[in-house]
Symmetry: none
Subunit: 231 residues, 4 copies
DNA sequence: CATGAATGAGCCTTCATTCAT
DNA sequence: AATGAATGAAGGCTCATTCAT
């Protein structure tokens, strides 16, 4: 079996095991067995337990970011770009549960080198969203003609944009976990839920506003957008 | 020394150590030494490492929830109630960094019993926010007089309210971590940032809306609400 | 059992095992079993395998050097001082076979920290012998009256004295090993053999000179100085 | 490439690696790489790690013994024979540092089969020196005419001759190590140092005797016989 | 009540060794 | 002939946990 394929096989198994048991509770024996290779191969290919975990993180983060950034085509209007990115994110999480579990729950509890790795990946996402937020602000609000001060909140400073991005990413993470816990729903639906909160806001919605529906992707398992039973 | 006090002393030390080193990297030796008691005492009082960690989780979650729910007085208008709860949350996190680190970063990476514990605490918070969201919806939108269908999104079903609550809690968590990473700011400011996103929404803000400022609490270290430098 | 005593017990066992199997072939399991303690105790008391070995080296070297230097009383005439030191050395080796095996055969084959340790101990011995040699030279040969050059070899330069000391120590080591291999003989006899070579030299002996006998110590096992059968 | 040459190439690399890292710390991977052959070849040609080490020992011992015995021509007078042998030995060690390191430092610390191998080689040397010593004794001292007892030490019994040989070999080993440690000097000079101790003895030297110099071999790097600085 | 002393169990890692090609 | 790929076995080290005092 060629080397590259073996390596993927090992990473697949490792992600599976890490997501199920957590980093420390997963033993290299267990991962080796799940990979269907011997332990020395694991070490020969990946170096050490920590390196193996880091490799998992890197691969899964790359995949996730790739899926999201491919969906959010730069040409689109900002709101639509965000909505598509979120949809891709929720779709990815639904299809790669283990991958997301490792990234979101396991990677943050580890020591320095790994935390830095995952923080870098998350930072990449946050920066993209920050840029999106800032672009939206610039695009929609014309500069004041009379040279007076820009209306507050319209041109968010760097800190504000970053905070907004953090909130969006955090909310998306939480919703992803919620969907995994309470049962699947179409990613478009989850994205709509989130867009309703962050894009329209709660108060406008209370007076009837609603972020527009989008038809569910046909290939998804649940065509009708059923509500997950809550409690 | 009375038993209850000893126990608190142990929990204090344990939270400190767990938050610094993580669950697995913290040894009972280390915790015993930091508690200034002998290891057998630790076991006599708390039973096992896992039980000790669970006790930490429970205590810290209770404190956090207590602080938040005390701030969100039931009589208030819903938006204000949410804003105060968020402010209390960010204030608590800033003052009890270790506590939040353990709850947010460490507890989720562990095995079943502990994850269940922290999930229960989080569920309690989410339920409160869900109720708040639902109450806001009921209060602000009169039932349609003509018996026609309620406007979409106005009376969120249970799932929608829960999703909104999840998004809010997730966003708050992410912002708490962001503030810890990028440097302190008054909790009122962080709460305003989040309220701006979730309550007003992004699009209205792009046209000039802004969630109203609140004066900073006097005892806070930074009277003028400086923006953390971003990037 | 008090801590100090346990530690000696561990060192005893370790020296025994190391001398029998060599450093690398000795496992900590084996040493723990031979010490009649559990492996964690070994690590608690001695730190690591390398540290344990180093502790053995240090203790055994100290004992050996102590025995020899106690025997070579400073007041004696140099030849006698050397003879007594050698006798004490051979007696020590005969009674602490393992100790010497570890020092002479095992310690030199290890990595840096340990080799440095044993080299330091050996250096201590060599320096003592060097001083002895130099003192002997000074004492027995008056400075030339006429200011002419000292006769060659009479006042050995530092290098020469050191070389002589190295030769003596090396010869003693080899003889110690030979005695262990070929069967015991009184240490006085071995010392006399060596003194005959180095003190008198071979050539004079070839013409009948002999380093004077000394009576065997009464408590020794073999009163009559039997020759070990060779080959 | 013919088999014999490959094998020598492997042994060369093995000696180099063994002398640098020691037996256990040298891995077969490392040796294979240093030999520029694949690991299976190593096993095909040499059988096992232990066998490889034994082959190194055997080859290096043969070379060393060959060099020495070629120098000590049987026809010479005994003292001169010894001196030339020693000179050849010191020259060999200086030029084949690795070879001697493996023989002297590494081989003795190993387990039974290898220790036996090196002991056999050393025994061969010791026997040759023993014979030399005995021949010297026979040659220089006429048998007593009156049938009285031979003067003590004049006709050394087998044990005495063997002891003398051991002392000489041990002293030579120690001096070889000393020269390697303290910096090179002409082998003739080192041989003279040793001859001064064992052949003339210390006491006569203290009264001015000196083993005669021999001119340094011309090709040696340091024409003037400089003393290594000591301490 | 409180603790110094002690341990069973398990994990990461490495290496000599061998197939299948 | 020659090798890339693969592994069984074992060792150093640590830690949660418990007695005996």
């Amino acid at each position: 079996m060629p080397r590259a394929q073996r390596e993927q096989q090992m990473l697949d198994a490792a992600v599976r095991v890490f997501s199920r048991c957590g980093y420390h509770a997963s033993s290299m024996d267990e991962i080796a067995e799940a990979s269907d290779v011997s332990k020395p191969m694991l070490y020969l290919y990946l170096g050490s337990k920590e390196a193996l975990f880091a490799a998992c993180i890197r691969r899964e983060a790359d995949r996730l970011i790739g899926a999201v950034s491919q969906a959010a085509e730069p040409g689109l209007e900002t709101g639509e770009q965000l909505r598509r990115g979120l949809t891709a994110f929720f779709a990815y999480v639904a299809e790669h549960r283990d991958s997301w579990t490792v990234l979101y729950q396991q990677a943050r509890a580890q020591g320095e080198p790994i935390v830095a790795e995952v923080a870098a990946a998350r930072g990449q996402v946050v920066r993209a969203v920050t840029a999106l937020v800032r672009r939206a602000a610039r695009a929609s609000v014309p500069a004041p003609r009379d040279g007076g001060p820009a209306p507050a909140g319209v041109r968010p400073d760097r800190g504000e944009a970053a905070a907004v991005a953090q909130a969006i990413v955090g909310a998306a993470d939480a919703l992803a976990g919620w969907v995994l816990d309470t049962g699947p729903e179409p990613p478009e639906e989850t994205a709509r839920r989130l867009m309703s909160v962050i894009w329209i806001g709660l108060e406008p919605r209370l007076h009837g506003a609603r972020y527009p529906e989008t038809e569910c992707r046909s290939e998804h398992q649940q065509p009708e957008c059923q509500q997950p039973e809550y409690q």
